[in-house]
Amino acid sequence: MTSVTLENVVKYYYPTIGSAETRPTLGLDHVSMKIEDGETVSIVGPSGCGKSTLLKVIAGLEYADAGRLLYNDVDVTRITPQDRGVGMVFQDYALYPSKEGEKNMAYYFEVHHRTEEEKQQRLKETADLMGIGFELLMGRQVDTLSGGEKQRVGIARCIVREPNVFLMDEPISNLDAKLRERTRTEIKRLLKKFKITTIYVTHDQQEAIFMGDRIAVMRAGRLEQFGTFDDLYYSPANLFVASLIGTPPISVLPAERSGGALKIADAASLPLSAELAAQLPEGRLRLGVRPEAWFVKSEAGSGLALTVTRIERLYTERAAFAHGEVTGEPVNALVPLDFPEVKQVFLQPDLDRAYFFAADSEAVLHTPGVPALF
């Protein structure tokens, strides 16, 4: 059982010969985080944000240029990947193509000079864990397996050794949608069973939310926020986190506070509650509204006119998302299904559930905080 701690980890990337950039770029910019024992952490962020680099540093495939990395209380910053005892699952499966499934899983036991009995026993246990039909995959040549089957072998290869830390680098993003759904559930089931510390890298926030007990959001090598989904959703650290988490994304509109009133997008004006009035500065700011935090009306009133460009039905509910524009800014709103073919609806933000950001930076002025649901 292992906890993983990163202390101010820095990783530089040196430019390739011939590129215009001559200075090294920061792959990881002073990342600090503590991943608790047995916890699953998703790392999410746009391409090139350093999430894979972070995983490689934790695995030892790259070494940090500065900072420390601890497994429990042991400094492993300079320990080779061979000696860290981690298990890693790769996006392209990375199975050894010249070996069958079983030999893929057995490689660990071969290089560690384990006994044949132990190997056989662990292989059997793993096959039982992986579920029905897995023993059939073990005997097959790797290149005859389908993508999903390959990834099952990849995961089995990882758990057969009882790793300290389980690292997954976008393990299911190469699978088709339906299989992805199934494999996702499967991985979650295995993780629950093992209670191994897991770090799961993905660019898909749905996957991150589903997998992770906590989620780390990264951008340009920096850790922007690290917390549960509720923290990230209701109390984002900045505008970037607010717009990354949530589908459809938060709608951001320019607004101006003058006295006790809030003027939104030069189109509507709302009175501010005493609590909000105490927190918000005078002048220009930005208002963020989640799709579910709009009051929707079909006739003109004090609301904002949303020109609907697209209706996206939610088949699990009697509702739909209306995508459109309010004075040129993209806005998404959750509307009841009795607006089937409308071209325009009128929206009024629920200011109790609204987010406020500074007009010229990503700083947060006010967030609603996690609602007390129960």
Binding site: T16, Q82, M88, F90, A94, L95, Y107, E110, V111
Partner: protein, 337 residues
């Protein structure tokens, strides 16, 4: 066949085109096989008939006499070739196998290191350095290389003396030994390029997975990379075999002693025996030289040379068939999606 689809082939014009194409290709096949036919036929032709004008396409009296004589060449033409044929064969085999044994591991490990283990600027510099050796024609480095075999590590005809004394620097002399052929062929830039191209195609994640599994770098190379790389090893082994087995100029420069001469030099020596006399017909040939006369009197002329040529070609052909098997077997287990 698929160049013109089966349906289209029913049309007259397409048939004509298809026929012309087939004829052209068969002509190519014919032109390639003709020299081999001449070689084989000449090798079973009696000596006098082999030199007659016009040449005969099929001998009047086919005979295996030349084959028997060549197998005992040191008995029948001692002044031309002093060693038994098996000796030249042994020399060629020894040089070729030793070269392969040295050059394939050295070249492939260098390529693997350059492709997967060293990153950034140094890998690039190393790569350009290795490839740079390809830019120099081999003939340019012939004399410096020759001098190096005389007084290694000095590329000088005579080793320099230690300053202030009369003693020469100690040097290593590999000239006129097997090593003179084997060591310079220990690294091959063109094979390096082949290996590197292949290793570059192997995803890093496979190597990373093996590292996480706990394999040492060498174990990863031996247990994971090597089995994946069978095709490229087959290609390189074939190239390397052919290049050393058929090498002529370099052994000619560094090997003097006929006891260690490869088969290529033996063939050249017999060919020279004819060439020096400028033989075009039996009459002029007979009067030309003692060596010539000795060969002819034994019943050897171009036919003997053709026998040697065939003996020289057969191992390369056999090795090609073996390498091809592995090449096809290997293609199936490539790890590339």
């Amino acid at each position: 066949m698929s160049l013109i689809p089966a349906v289209g082939r029913k049309q007259f014009k397409a048939r004509l085109g298809w026929g012309a194409l087939a004829a052209f290709l068969w002509f190519g096949v014919f032109m390639h096989l003709l020299p081999f036919y001449i070689m084989i036929v000449t090798s079973i032709t009696p000596a006098a008939e082999a030199m007659s004008m016009p040449p005969t396409l099929w001998p009047a009296h086919p005979t295996l006499a030349a084959w028997k004589l060549i197998l005992h060449i040191s008995d029948v033409a001692r002044s031309v070739l002093s060693q038994p044929l098996s000796r030249y064969f042994f020399n060629s085999t020894l040089m070729t196998l030793s070269t392969m044994l040295l050059s394939i591991p050295v070249t492939s490990l260098a390529a693997y290191a350059c492709s997967k283990l060293i990153k950034g600027k140094s890998a690039r510099t190393l790569f350009i350095f290795f490839i740079g050796t390809l830019m120099l024609p081999g003939i340019v480095s012939l004399i410096p290389s020759f001098l190096l075999t005389r007084n290694f590590p000095f590329p000088l005809p005579v080793a320099p003396t230690i300053p202030g004394t009369d003693t020469a620097f100690p040097t290593l002399r590999i000239w006129n030994t097997y090593w003179a052929v084997i060591i310079p062929a220990g690294f091959s830039a063109s094979n390096f390029l082949l290996f590197k191209g292949f290793f570059d195609g192997i995803p890093d994640s496979i190597i990373n997975a093996a590292r996480v599994d706990g394999g040492s770098e060498f174990n990863i190379f031996r247990r994971i990379i090597l089995p994946m790389s069978v095709p490229v090893y087959a290609v390189v082994a074939y190239f390397s075999f052919g290049a050393t087995w058929d090498s002529y100029l370099w052994p000619l420069v560094v090997i003097q002693d006929s006891k260690i001469a490869p088969l290529t030099l033996a063939i050249r020596r017999i060919s020279d025996a004819f060439g020096a006399a400028g033989t075009t017909n039996p009459q002029s040939a007979l009067g030309a030289s003692a060596q010539m006369a000795e060969l002819i009197s034994q019943g050897l002329s171009w036919n003997g040379l053709m026998v040697l040529g065939l003996l020289q070609a057969i191992p390369v052909f056999i090795f090609f068939i073996i390498a091809r098997e592995y090449l096809l077997k290997g293609v199936k287990i490539q790890g590339l999606k």
